[in-house]
């Protein structure tokens, strides 16, 4: 067996997501020795899962809150039958048990006197039209009831993905609508990796900082600028980070980037040599806090950040203007916002900024499917907004001038000519194969007027062109005409 890391195991004191039979997910803090109530689904003992590996499901199987690992039977193939629900009228009265009967069953189940299977069987037996249902509907009915009466729960490990999914489903506004796919793209564009140095403005309650920190694995630095009294990085606490990872996250208040004129060092405030007891303790606490702020400032002013990531409620360009100088060359700049419209002005601003290359405004599209044998289809409801990303690359703008002597140019041109010759020869060899048929031209039609619409070049037009130098090849061709990708 491979050696396990602490993070592979469910540990006491950590945040745990509990997926319940209803498919609802609850977040708990797992205290050693405690009992965890899942409401009507019963109670389990925290110690029954502490120390186990993540990944298993558990069934609460008797009154004593005993749990055992639950092995799901898997989804079985269900075939269409002639029995096609035609005779079924949507009528709750086809269930012959009264509400009270069912309540009684439920409470027996809670007491552990009936297993989930037994309850479901009772329901099934008493369902008047059950036999008339198709095999599929029957299976669906049983699955639905089974979920309700089997007390199976699954502890889910908090990761950037699962935490993001949890909040996206539960309260997307908290994380400013950033969805798992958009977040994943932000991570890719940021090129975050072990050991990098990131500058972040994160108004998603720390969702972005959490995901970045996870990808850095305890090596490197994230400097988060925050407004307000405190960094609102609530999400970080759900991630069960070890201290090494937490130490990679530094913060600095926007108001304290530059030392305020009236800010005094602890030494300026008090003469340490005069202090004793509680006063001395206070001094040392203040000194430590002061040093932490000083260190964050130093981290910022040293610059050379490997990425700048902005997810703020404030106008992004006003933030970029301030922070761009601290980013190294050839590094990604990423702006996230919950709505695309909020990034439109920023996008036109970026186009005019000589330090930014190829701004690109994207939205992500994500669709989940129901996977059931014979009944697979995309989900019947969509995700909401997932947010929008505006990305660009920090570049070092400089005047362009000819760089070659005449002799150098001649040598180069000779070399080029040879390379071209070679290339042409190769192309000719390839063209021996049948080439795709060109579109029929209108000229071929002699007897009949074949009407041709003018083919008009689509180019992106911006009202204000870049202020800098030449700008010929670059961005004005944003109409990123991805070639029609043919699938084998």
């Amino acid at each position: 067996m491979a050696a396990l890391n602490p993070s592979d195991i469910i540990n006491a004191g950590e945040h745990v997501f509990i997926k319940m039979p209803s498919d609802n997910v609850k977040c708990i803090v797992l205290k050693a020795g405690s009992s965890v109530s899942l409401g009507k689904f019963g109670t389990f003992k925290a110690n029954d899962i502490i120390g186990h590996a993540w990944g298993n499901s558990y069934e609460i199987y008797d009154r004593d809150s005993k749990t055992r690992v639950y092995h799901p039977e898997g989804i079985s193939e269900v075939e269409e039958t002639a029995n096609n629900n035609r005779e079924i009228v949507d009528d709750p009265s086809s269930q012959k048990l009264t509400l009270d009967d069912i309540k009684a069953l439920k409470s027996e189940g809670l007491k552990g006197e009936l297993t989930g299977e037994e309850i479901v069987n009772k329901l099934k037996e008493s369902h008047a039209t059950f036999d008339k249902k198709t095999a599929y509907s029957q299976a669906k009915y049983l699955q639905k009831k089974g979920k309700k009466f089997h007390k199976v729960f699954t502890p889910i490990k908090p990761t950037a993905y699962s935490v993001n999914e949890y909040f996206y489903v539960k309260n997307p506004a908290k994380i400013r609508d950033i969805r798992m796919d958009t977040l994943s793209q932000l991570l890719s564009y940021s090129n975050v990796h072990s050991g990098c140095k990131l500058l972040v403005v994160d108004d998603t309650q720390g969702m972005i900082v959490s995901a970045l920190a996870e990808r850095m694995g305890g090596k490197g630095t994230i400097l988060g600028l925050y407004d307000g009294d405190n960094p609102h990085y609530d999400i970080v606490k759900y991630m069960n980070f070890n201290q090494e990872t937490l130490d990679t996250i530094k913060v600095l208040s926007w108001l304290r980037i530059h030392r305020p004129a009236d800010e005094k060092t602890p030494d300026e405030m008090q003469d340490v040599t005069q202090l004793t007891g509680k006063d001395l303790e206070g001094y040392h606490r203040r000194l430590k806090a002061y040093n932490i702020v000083e260190e964050s400032r130093k981290t910022l002013f040293e610059g050379n950040f490997d990425a700048l990531i902005v997810a703020s409620q404030y106008q992004p360009e006003s933030i970029l203007e301030k922070l761009l100088p601290y980013v190294a060359g050839s590094r990604p700049i990423i702006v996230y916002h919950g709505t695309k419209e909020a990034l439109l002005e920023t996008s036109t601003w970026m186009r005019k900024c000589p330090d930014l290359l190829a701004p690109q405004l994207t939205e992500s599209w994500l669709r989940k499917s129901q996977v059931l044998p014979g009944r697979t289809h995309p989900e019947m409801s969509t995700w909401g907004t997932g947010g929008s990303l505006l990305t660009a690359t920090k570049v070092i703008d400089q005047p362009v001038q000819a760089a070659l002597t005449k002799r150098e140019r001649l040598a180069m041109e000779k070399k080029n000519a040879e390379a071209k010759k070679l290339k042409r020869a190769r192309e000719e060899a390839e063209s021996a194969a049948p080439s795709p048929a060109p579109v029929v031209s209108a000229e071929d039609a002699t007897n009949v007027a074949i009407e041709e619409e003018e083919v008009i070049m689509t180019t992106t037009i911006t009202t204000t062109t870049s202020t800098s130098t030449i700008e010929p090849i670059d961005d004005d061709n944003e109409s990123r005409s991805v070639k029609r990708v043919k699938q084998e």
């Binding site: 506004a173 609102h232 937490l246 709505t339 419209e341 989900e379």
Partner: protein, 412 residues
């Protein structure tokens, strides 16, 4: 208003006088989520939680009129029933088709006045109404439903909605028994669990000497290949498959402050707070090794025990709290109940006064730029079905006209 309208109300057209009369169907529009349809009858009332409305008050009003409730405390709009509104108010007896699929299918099948069409099953009659409106007044809809109760309900609706002249409704299991129509229709729509079982009969129902279009409506991917195979085997051509859905946007106006404006605002707040009361920050539960600092209110590190739990809710984001008052973020949370007992950093010792003073801070001092933005609410209708289209080709008519002529001339 329609020129050809007759005063007997029909969902297929408008009334010429556009006036509510006794016996009319009228859509009571309270809100997008709260609409219902009534038949106006003198002496009756329409009751809802926003008030009561007398039918007789409606008679004689122009459609579209805003009507106050009996108490004057509520109001609603009296709308003319169209097939699109019907889709929103009809009683659901089955899954129904919505405007995205209805519209695309009608467009692809090229429905227009005068055409004949088959629909199966009728279901809740959502699509039937749109089809009837589009084929009216000279076309015809044959609609099939195997469930007797649904047939009865739909029959009544078609009559009450002035559509029965142009709709033929049959209770029939078309998969087993076929459509019993030959050489009759221009277009066919199949919303059946096993559409492949109806393809052979569908083929016979098409007008045999002209082109026809068929559409099948299947939610699951497994239904696709069986349908394709059946269409293929029966000689249908140009098989195409689409998915179509509509995204309904929420539109909002949000303020966009620059970071400088936000900081200026925050500095002002801080100054006031300093004047109002000396600030004490305490974190009793802080068991980490990092400093507890009284001066800055912020530490340079995140610690395991740091519990800051502000909820950025929607209203926050979109209006009030999106003004740069997140300085007061933690104060505000005090007003919200949190189930954890962990104290919120910096929230305990802050006197109510400071929070109050924030509220009275004149908001006009800096004018933010407003931006109109859209948002797609979660849980919109997503996938409905795969729309599979195919073409029925007319029977080959022997040699072409020119060849016939050529034969004729050479025979001379």
């Amino acid at each position: 208003m329609s020129e050809t309208a007759v005063e007997k109300q029909s969902f297929a057209t408008y009334k010429k006088n556009n006036t509510i009369e006794d016996g009319d169907n009228v859509v009571m529009y309270l809100s997008r989520e709260n609409m219902s349809i009534i038949r106006v009858k003198d002496g009756e009332y329409f009751n809802c939680k926003f008030g009561s409305y007398k039918h007789s008050d409606m008679i004689g009003l122009e459609y579209g009129t805003k009507l106050g409730s009996n108490t004057g405390r509520g109001f609603l709009y009296l709308l003319y029933p169209t097939p699109e509104l019907w889709t929103l108010v009809l009683p659901h007896r089955t899954q129904i088709l919505y405007i995205a699929d209805i519209s695309f299918v009608m467009n692809f099948l090229n429905l227009k006045p005068g055409m004949s069409m088959i629909e199966s099953g009728t279901g809740s009659g959502s699509f039937s109404h749109s089809i009837a409106r589009t084929l009216a007044p000279t076309g015809h809809l044959y609609t099939f439903e195997y469930h007797q109760e649904r047939v009865n309900a739909a029959k009544k609706e078609f009559e009450e909605h002035g559509l029965s002249d142009m709709v033929t409704l049959r209770c029939r299991d078309v998969c087993k028994d076929g459509f019993d129509l030959e050489d009759k229709v221009d277009a066919i729509f199949l919303d059946l669990p096993a559409p492949w079982e109806a393809v052979a009969s569908a083929k016979r129902a098409f007008k045999q000497n002209k082109v026809g279009k068929i559409c099948t409506f299947s939610p699951c991917i497994e239904q696709i290949s069986r349908t394709v195979t059946a269409l293929n085997e029966h000689g249908f051509v140009d098989i195409q498959m689409y998915e179509c859905l509509i995204r309904f946007n929420e539109v909002r106006v949000i303020p966009m402050w620059t970071i400088d404006e936000a900081m200026e605002k925050q500095r002002a707040v801080e100054k006031k707070r300093k004047r109002a009361a000396p600030r004490v920050v305490r974190d009793d539960n802080n068991i980490s090794t990092s400093a507890q600092d009284e001066d800055t209110g912020s530490s340079g590190h995140i610690n395991k025990s740091v519990k800051v739990e502000p909820s950025v809710d929607d209203s926050n984001q979109s209006s009030a709290a999106a003004t740069p008052n997140s300085t007061t973020g933690s104060e505000m949370e005090d007003g919200m109940s949190t189930t954890t007992s962990t104290p919120v950093i910096g929230s305990e010792a802050i006197p109510e006064a400071s929070s109050a003073s924030t509220a009275t801070e004149p908001r006009e001092r800096i004018n933010p730029k407003n931006v109109v933005v859209t948002r797609l609410p979660a849980e919109q209708r997503g996938h409905t079905s795969y729309l599979m289209f195919a073409t029925f080709t007319p029977a080959s008519q022997g040699p072409s006209l020119t060849e016939t002529k050529a034969v004729a001339s050479s025979a001379k």
